[in-house]
Symmetry: C2
Subunit: 208 residues, 2 copies
């Protein structure tokens, strides 16, 4: 059964338990899904309102994009947990002989790369949603402005939480080029996300 098909209550019971998955990676993807839903609502609450006819077409387009984002993020909830399991399985491989050790190490390295790349993709996806959230919140229905702001905060968690899961996996990798490339991407995305979130939340506060 897919994690997205558990009830909210069940999903959180499963999270709270003594298994490492679903953990922070899946929760980051969930935050992306929450964010896209909330800002889609804001777009929907703008469409068809008389004071917002000038942004109507744009809001329709954005609503459609947020819907797509949601579908991706919902699948990412499972993908992140599956990637973690790959690493877990690799660690369980036999390590008696030198050959077994070499095979196991290679498997761990490969699985860990995937476990870094999946949250990297989640972080980049969420990062790619930030400007759309800003636009929708600034131009959308003023009555739902706080929903846009909460969407921004949950998107920040999606980005930064996923990046933490990239970084912790990079710690176990020997491919220095791979590690450097992803570390650079992490640093850039992290910084820009904090700036974009602060700009929007500061602005929203001036509107309340």
């Amino acid at each position: 059964m897919k994690l997205q098909d558990l009830t909210v209550k069940q999903f959180l019971e499963k999270t709270a338990g003594n298994e490492p998955v679903p953990g922070g990676g899946s929760v980051s993807a969930l935050n992306g899904a929450i964010s896209s839903s909330l800002v889609q609502m804001l777009a929907n609450l703008t469409i068809g309102r008389k004071n917002y006819t000038d942004v109507e077409e744009r809001m329709k387009k954005n609503a459609g994009r947020f819907e797509e984002f949601r579908m991706h993020f919902l699948n990412d909830i499972d993908r992140d947990s599956e990637a973690y399991n790959l690493v877990f399985e690799a660690f369980k491989l036999p390590k008696e002989t030198d050959e077994e050790k070499a095979y196991r190490n290679q498997n761990i390295q490969e699985a860990t790369k995937i476990a870094a790349l999946v949250p990297m993709e989640i972080a980049e996806r969420a990062f790619g949603m930030l400007d759309l959230i800003v636009e929708t919140t600034r131009k959308g229905n003023k009555n739902a402005i706080t929903d846009g702001c909460v969407a921004m905060m949950t998107c920040r968690t999606a980005v930064l939480g996923a990046l933490l899961n990239v970084r912790i996996n990079l710690g176990g990798l020997k491919d220095a080029g791979f590690v450097q490339k992803l570390t650079d991407a992490c640093n850039r995305i992290e910084k820009e996300t904090e700036v974009k979130e602060k700009e929007l939340t500061d602005w929203v506060k001036t509107q309340l």
Copy 2:
């Protein structure tokens, strides 16, 4: 049907729709529930591990407290949406005669106070969880340190998101004493939350 009994997918479909609830207030409560679950997992992954016997009792106690927090936050998801609906119903009251107008205005004021007090309670609940998250993350299983950090970020959204919903409701209230009291509480909690979150996330980054 309670919102917590919808599947994750259904809850988000409902959020994304063109009704204002569930919105940012319920999502803030959901973030509190997510946060408590994730940090409970971290406590659970610490209990029974040989390198963490000195914090074992503390982790058991914390795990129990996070479980209680989760139950409260799950109910808050519905409570916030219900509070919003009270305001919505009050606005629909008749306003033909002076008597009707006065009755409607009084109802709007009372419902709006509730719609401010419910997220205030959610914000205070989440705020009350911050120090426990810090302790559990700093002393708990190092392998799950990023989960503690993601729990901190989602708890920040629970606090700040709920406070936005307090503030937007305060804008419609005439009771200046009530407004001042809650505004002061908002300002204090908001500031401390940002500080606590930054401290922990900065520290976690030094541990990766």
